[in-house]
């Protein structure tokens, strides 16, 4: 399968006399295959928006290589811009223009026919409100307008940064269907979002970024499988036997996390062996269940951003790959 988007070793460094040096992107890699819906995930401040802005020529990189539709960017961006639709961060439009004016002016700038404006307004559900000023729109309606502006070119590559932000549940579902339809029609979609349940539902593949570096990538199922770590939940007939069972399993080399009424085991290849081992010590299992992981738990584990009771995680506290003690490395200015 051919790649629509390739990023290799992308670096962006911000230097400040007062706050030192910050590596927003630190050798970031990404690859998106044609026709896929690709999820682009990362905690706040991890470099997602910087990546997208750099890709779209809004920010100059300090190093690395970016290719869109076979053209190296930003050098060839003017040649491919007509095939790339994008919204970056929150939608921003001139508040006193109507949605139709806004899209009409963009269509004019892109030398597109005027009828395309009506098509995308219909597509995002703004047809009946197209004559109203943008300043009267809700966040969700502005988001729809932003998606409409990105779709205006009928692009081959659609880049959407938090497209579901501000949408109502119905709107989120419509957006999901739209993404699927666009993908089915051959459009490649890169979707940056924090709604991981949506990403898991919509996306074929994902890239997870943390502190400017890629920490995981590939098809969603593959990423989930690689990081499920064979978790198993067990309950015993007698809750009072849990400490003894934990001791037996730990001595057998199993990683055990004790909960009030059950144990969570990690790194278990054969669940049946656990049952047998405990029975040999007179401990009888009432429930033994493999635990399925979801994208959210994988994300939290990979980026080390799971909330910890009593602690207040700072924005730049997440995993940095390739460094010792990667579970919660402090980043930020001066890192």
């Amino acid at each position: 399968m051919s790649a629509v988007l390739e990023i290799e070793g992308l670096r962006k460094t911000y230097r400040s006399r007062r706050r030192g040096v910050r590596h927003a992107l630190d050798g970031f890699d990404m690859r998106v295959e044609a026709g896929q819906v690709h999820g682009f995930l990362g905690p706040n401040g991890s470099g997602k928006t910087t990546t997208l802005r750099t890709l779209l020529g809004l920010i100059r990189p300090n190093g690395g290589r970016m290719v869109i539709l076979g053209h190296e960017v930003p050098h060839a961006l003017p040649a491919v811009a007509g095939q790339v639709g994008a919204i970056v961060e929150s939608p921003q439009f001139f508040p006193h223009f109507t949605a139709r004016d806004t899209l009409s002016l963009l269509a004019g700038a892109g030398q597109l026919p005027g009828r395309r404006v009506d098509e995308v307004l219909e597509l995002v559900g703004l047809r009946d409100r197209a004559g109203e000023r943008v300043k009267t729109y809700s966040l969700g309606m502005k988001q729809r307008l932003a998606v409409a502006s990105a779709l205006l070119k009928n692009p081959k590559l659609l880049i959407l940064d938090e497209p579901a932000n501000g949408l109502d549940p119905g709107g989120i579902r419509e957006m999901r269907t739209l993404m699927r339809d666009l993908s089915a029609a051959g459009m490649t979609v890169v979707l940056s979002s924090h709604i991981l349940g949506e990403i898991q539902l919509i996306c074929d593949s994902v890239t997870i970024i943390s502190l400017g570096r890629r920490v995981a990538y590939g098809p969603v199922e593959q990423v989930l499988a690689e990081h499920s770590q064979s978790s198993v939940r067990i309950r015993l007939e007698a809750v009072t036997d849990l400490p003894q069972a934990a001791d037996v399993l730990t001595r057998a080399g199993v990683r055990v996390a004790a909960e009030p009424d059950h144990l969570m085991l990690a790194g278990v290849d054969k669940p049946a062996a656990v049952s047998r081992l405990l029975a040999e010590h007179g401990l009888y299992v009432s429930e033994l269940a493999p635990v399925a992981v979801d994208l959210e738990s994988v994300f939290l584990e990979l980026t080390a951003t799971a909330p910890v009771p009593g602690q207040h995680r700072q924005v730049d506290q997440s995993t940095k790959v390739g460094e010792p003690g990667s579970g919660g490395t402090g980043g930020g200015w001066g890192a």
Binding site: R53, L56, G57, L58, I59, R60, P74, L77, P78, A81, V84, A86, V88, Q92, F93, F94, P95, H96, F97, D101, L105, L106, A107, G108, A109, G110, Q111, S149, K153
Partner: protein
Amino acid sequence: MSLYVTELRRLAKRRLTRLLLVLLVLGLAGIATAFAFSSHKLSPAVVAEAQAKSDADYQRAVKDWERSVAECDAAAARGEKTEERYGPDCGRQWQPQPEMFDPKWNLPYQFDFRGEFGIFIAVFAGAVALFAFLVGASFVGAEWSTGGMMNLLLWRPKRLAVLGTKLAAVLTALLGVSVVLGALWTLAFWLIGTYRGSTAKVTSGVWQSTAISGVRALALVLVVGAVAFALASLGRHTAMALGAAVGVGVISEIGIRLAVTMAGVRFGERYVLSTYALAWFEKQWKLIDYRSCDFVQGQCNPKEMLVTWQDSALVLGLGSALVLVVAFWTMRRRDIS
């Protein structure tokens, strides 16, 4: 549709552009209307009325003088001292003369197109330059602050071409507005001159001079618009241009003026920006150094320095070009976030 046409459409659709244009037209129309009412055609009847009033004033003054002389003579006959009150020889030498009562003083104001329209070109240029400043600055400033520029660059990722096209669009619009309103302004004052004033001695040479002044006014409007555009683009906000204008105004007109006065710099006004604006309009502006006078020796011929419109073109042109170059260079180099 080209980006240039799109930008012209965008400018025309902007609420502030429309509002400022309406205010500009109303303001100029108000000035012309008020002026039309204050000017009066000097018909033979009006001139005769002024002459009659002047004659009457003269006759009244002669009678007052004769009465004063008679009173003085009577007082002298009574042996009173009169010189202190009536002057020597009872003030006979102060007899009113007819030329002291010029009928012109009793005439109402009449607008003279030939002699006065130049001032109104300057008034027009000032008003349109203010319009140009606000439109030029807000056109690009609002684009930056609302995220419109970023959106546009996603469609046309050629930064210099986008900024250049926007500048070309705003300058074209300013040129169009200036030419149309300038023509209407000239027509309005020509009509005022024709029906409520004078258009005498308006030769082809006068029209030529008026046209040259108009071109200078137009150039000033375009330069102001371009500089405001560049400043707002540099600061990525309309307020940046407004702030810079206030800053330059305060530094140049107050700060430098005070500094050169305190330091005793000769012809210190040559460092003040408004000197060049005045020279641009007046063709030349004379700076006078009164401290070079030696009043002890009588008549003073102070040293003079002439600032020509060519000097103004150089200073204003170089300054504007510098601001524009920096704005375009910044557009090319800076990240957009």
